[in-house]
């Protein structure tokens, strides 16, 4: 009886050692890949903030920033975008987390200083293939986000102006609402108060008028 347990333990030990070895080889590669993926995504979304320039991303610690993503056990991390060697910010990038139909969808959002979304991309989703999974296609839903301000992130089904994807209300709602709550948290922390600073934001005046029209 004891011998049987010992043999099982031996097998398990050999297995654990083998896995430990492989893990030490693959874990760094996986970590590097994840980081690279994130960098690529950030470059892709933030490109529209300053086309043609190479960008620098620095994480911001913002006091007073609430965490609307605590419900799905994630944190709202804001990254500041700047064009080196200038360190002044030209916009922000953050990841929005929303509980979709069958997964927590991660959307990377780039916004300008005035809170207007410049581009989004889906980082992770495990929604229904052929239906919710199509949210990755920019022409389906996230394409309509460009240029919108936080209060406009509501589906038509919920009284707003954004068209959900056909047959994928849950997925569409998850993405849309998660972006809105993230933007609202950033707004409340005072990140979007730079709209009056015209030297940093040439679109300042345009923003003012459309804000009035957008708030209904």
């Amino acid at each position: 009886m004891f011998k049987l347990g010992l043999i099982l333990m031996l097998v398990a030990l050999v297995a654990a050692v083998a896995l430990g070895l492989v893990n030490s080889r693959t874990a760094p590669i996986i970590a590097v890949q994840k980081e690279l993926e994130k960098q690529n995504a950030m470059n892709e979304v933030a490109a529209s903030l300053s086309p043609g320039d190479s960008l620098a991303f620095d994480s911001l610690s913002v006091s007073g920033l609430g965490n609307p993503y605590a419900v799905c056990d994630n944190t709202l991390d804001v990254v500041k975008v700047s064009v080196p060697p200038d360190t002044s910010r030209i916009g922000y990038v953050f990841i929005a987390y929303g509980k979709g139909y069958s997964s927590t969808i991660q959307t990377m959002v780039a916004t300008g200083l005035e809170g207007r979304v410049s581009n989004t991309t889906i980082l992770y989703q495990q929604e229904t293939p052929g239906l919710g999974a199509n949210v990755e296609n920019p022409s389906k839903l996230i394409g309509s986000f460009n240029g919108l301000i936080p209060s406009e992130f509501i589906l038509k089904n919920d009284g707003g102006g954004i068209d959900a994807m056909t047959g994928c209300t849950i997925t569409s709602r998850a993405v849309t609402n998660s972006i809105r709550t993230g933007l609202e948290a950033m707004n409340e922390a005072g990140l979007f108060t730079d709209r009056t600073d015209e030297s940093e934001n040439p679109e300042g005046t345009v923003m003012e008028s459309s804000t009035e029209g957008g708030v209904e």
Partner: protein, 202 residues
């Protein structure tokens, strides 16, 4: 103990999915696209070959009473290996297969062949059996995935086959959960007809 027989057994005569009804869970879940089916098939075949090899190699050393847990540890180790290597070198496939990579552990085919064949046959035969079963499993998945991807998405291996007009209004149910069940039901019925014909023709 013909080697060729062991090899070809799993492809039709004892096809793990259609004849032995093993490995249903990943079979139905992963066949939303031919690409996923091939990826899963390759991963499962790799684990099957490795586990059959080791189980057969140590068949006289592992005591009978504790053999099932031992087999499970061996299988789980290879599955974790596949998981780590895929995550590092094939991240997109790893993302698509998602939770079904760790679930290769409970793929009844692997434990079934270890318990039902590899622990009683020499190494070479066991490996041949594993290859055959793996090919059979992959083929079965590609067949179902072909139906599901063509009908539900209009593509095959991501190549546009039925045209963009079809892609705007595909038979979505094929790619959703019910489609897998229904299409499998019809495929099994088709195999039943084939069997009857063979039996009647004698």
């Amino acid at each position: 103990m013909s080697l060729v027989k062991d090899l070809t057994n799993g492809i039709y005569r004892e096809n793990p999915v259609f004849k032995l009804a093993l490995g249903m869970c990943p079979f139905l879940a992963v066949t939303t696209s031919v690409e996923n089916a091939l990826g899963m098939g390759a991963a499962a075949t790799f684990v099957l070959i490795c586990s059959n090899f080791l189980v057969s190699l140590f068949r006289n050393l592992i005591p009978s009473k504790v053999r099932i847990p031992c087999y499970i540890v061996i299988i789980a180790t290879f599955v974790t290996l596949v998981d780590m290597v895929m995550n590092a070198y094939l991240p997109d496939l790893h993302k698509s297969l998602g939770i079904f990579i760790p679930l290769i552990v409970v793929n009844c085919i692997i434990l079934g062949r270890a318990e039902g064949y590899a622990n009683r046959h020499p190494v070479i035969n066991s490996v041949a059996d594993a290859i055959g079963m793996g090919i059979g499993f992959t083929m079965a998945m590609v067949i179902l995935a072909s139906f599901r991807e063509l009908l539900g998405n209009g593509t095959w291996l991501n190549m546009n086959v039925l045209g963009t007009a079809y892609q705007n209004q595909p038979l979505l149910i094929a790619i959703l959960a019910p489609g897998a069940f229904i299409l499998l039901g019809f495929i099994l019925g088709f195999f039943n007809i084939l069997e009857k014909r063979k039996g009647g023709g004698q």
